[in-house]
Amino acid sequence: MLVVLSFVAISAIGGYAVFQSRGNASEVKTVTEGIVPSTLASSDLVAQLKDVQLATMNLIAAPDQNIAQQAQEQLTAGKARLQAGLDYQLKHADSATQRGLIQEAHDSLQDYFSSIDDAARFKLAGKNDLANATFYAGVSQYQVNLQQNIQALRVEKSRSTDAATAALNQNLSRTVTTLSGVTLITVLALFTMGILLYRQITRPISRMQHMMSEIATSQDFTRRVPVDQQDEIGKSIIAFNTMIAKIEENSILLKQKTNDIQTMLQNIPQGILTLTEGGLIHHEYSAHLESILETRDIAGRTLPDLVFSDTTLGSDILSQIDAAVGSCIGEDVMNYEFNEHLLVGEIEKRMPDGRVKILDLNWSPITDDADTVVRLILCVRDVTELRKLAAEANEQKRELEIIGEILAVSQDKFHEFIAGAIKFVDENEQLIREHAKHDSETIAQLFRNMHTIKGNARTYGLHNLTNIVHEAEQTYDALRKPNPDIAWDPASLREELAGVRAAIDRYARINEVSLGRKGPGRRGSIERYLMVEKAQIQETLHRLETVNTGNLHELIAARNAVHKILRLLGTEEIEETLAGLLESLPSLADELGKETPLVKIVDNGYVVRNQASGTLKNVFMHLFRNSMDHGLESPDERVALGKPVAGTIRLAMNVVDKQLQLRMSDDGRGLALGRIRERALDKGLIEADAALSDEEIARLIFRPGFSTAAKVTEVSGRGVGMDAVQSFIKREGGQITLRFLDEEVGADFRRFETVVCLPENIAIAVDAGAGSAATAAASVAEAKPAQQNSVAGA
């Protein structure tokens, strides 16, 4: 806009100057083309008048007609010229005064010409005197008049010319003045405009430039350059501000992304680092890397120094890695493809305190638009735990496989196989010990024995064992060749044999402990029960085979599931163990004339190994019979006492103080301490005057041959009562006690419970976590009965 304004101003000045000079030029033209020539012509008039006068005089004075005729012609021409000159003057008269003077001259001319004509006529008529008279009287007189008129006109013309010239001069000087003024004004205007331009353009531009530099250096994209006017600068500022807004938007996005990446690097449970040119570790790496490598000093170091130190990697491998890394960074991505295989995927790194960590390394290139590798990214994962779990899972898998293999063999055949295998191993051991030197016969025997074990193991499908036995057999096979590659080395042979023995022992142990198939074989429920488990084993094996070993959680879940199965193999619920006994209670109650008691069993989440089920059945058969025979009253008695007709027997199982504890009690009459004492006296077990505590009396029931029943019933009291029970329990490494539940010391009947303790390993918590919680809760409940009330058997 300002530019437009300046253009208009300059054009106006130019236009004015052009207009002025045009005006002046036309004035000059008027003066030079009109006024000056007419002034000059007025001078000509005098000469023309003189010509006419002279011609007239010639005519008058002409001596003959011919000359007169010639003079007449000259006169006519002179008259015409004079007339024309005067007409010209009239035409070019530029004032009233001039026109008046010309008119006067014209009139005088007419008089002059008519006098001349008269004189001429007289002359031509030959009247010379008359002609002379007319000439001197009229013509000369009129000529003087005319001359005066013309003179006056000349004076007037000169004056007019001077006036015109003066006017022209004045005009010119005015033009000069005007142009000077206009120029001055223009200069002033331009100066003003300059200032305005400075204020409107230069200042905003420099301010804009200043602000822009400030924004650029401060990187504060929230700032904007203020827009003061809506001109080009204003528009550029708006455009700039729009650009800054875009930059701000992008920088916010960038910040957000950077922040995201930083947060990821801070929180991702993985060690991530990048390698820059020269194999140096970039200062931006994930925080978790510090905990994996157990150092904070990471940035700027090299891989061999930071990651590969204290590992099992040899110097050659390290130099390969170094060369591979160097060959990739800064080069085309194809170099990564070429050398990727040299970048190790897993290392074992020894920490300063001696722990060994297994680190999983995952490499990838970061490329730019030109497919050049700018950095290498390395993800480091601590897979120590994962590998341990995987190894555990693998071990469990093997155990499950072994179980599956064992289950496919009948118990007696398996027992026979194990016994035979051990015999061969023993024999081989002896052979090796007895021979310090290579002996073909011995080696042949060793081979035959091992070959037999392998053959049998293979026949029974014991694959895990077959593989191990095969190794040993191969060694013997190598030794028995004519020129063996290996030497006879008793130490290594014994070591190998020990491995075979361990494998056989493992099979035997799994058979006995996990499967509860001790001995040459028991037929019946156990075998049937284990058949059911087989399906579960297969399912678990499948689960182990399909588990993603790279996923810690999945691996833990699988391990726990398998662990549970392995733990629960060969176990059963106590209710299941006692099922036969519980089923027999109604008929037993009938026999005794009592109501079938209510049995309440609380297992607290434990199951029992079925190795112990025989003992448990025997023990509780006796204890339940005793309870129903001696403890629970007859229906009539119970009604009289206000008790429910049917009695209640409670059995609670728990693990307390590293022992399986089975506590049994009933709501019968309690322990008949008076009758126990009498019976003991009768049997001569105590002296009549013996001072015995309630606990000591209670203990008498465990004496061999003790029986309290008034008559020997068919159910209990056969003299093999509590002492037999006690011996069953002792055989399993346990003990049985009675514990009083009331404080009525010395009473005839006291409430009590029977506590059977067995080794802890008989009990298995179904759910490891829940089991221990139940134990804790049970321990609190156990704290109630006073310790001195406890009555230990024998």
Binding site: D322, A323, G326, S327, D332, E337, F338
Partner: protein
Amino acid sequence: MAQVLMVDDSSTVRNEVCDFLKSNGLTVTPAIDGKDGLDKLRADPAIRLVISDVNMPNMDGLTMAEKIRGELKNAAVHVIMLTTENSPAMKERGKAAGIKGWIVKPFNGGAVLATLKKLVTA
């Protein structure tokens, strides 16, 4: 009319790489050092790819690469070095000589084959 020139003074490496490339459908000319390599390359304009060891008698691989671009004015052939080490100085020299790739020994056929084939047909 071979596609690949394999330059290595070690006959073991040379034969192994040649056999591998041949068994994967490439035609290969062996050369025993840089000088031999240059001669073979001069003689056979069909060669599209040079795989060369670095340290060799008579003429090393890097010098050969420089001469391929310089003396032979052959800018079309791809040069890939087989190496055991990698220093910044070597890389810089290689870049100036237009070396396209570095394969660190031991040579892994599977990893490089696809790319090599691409270079030969490119």
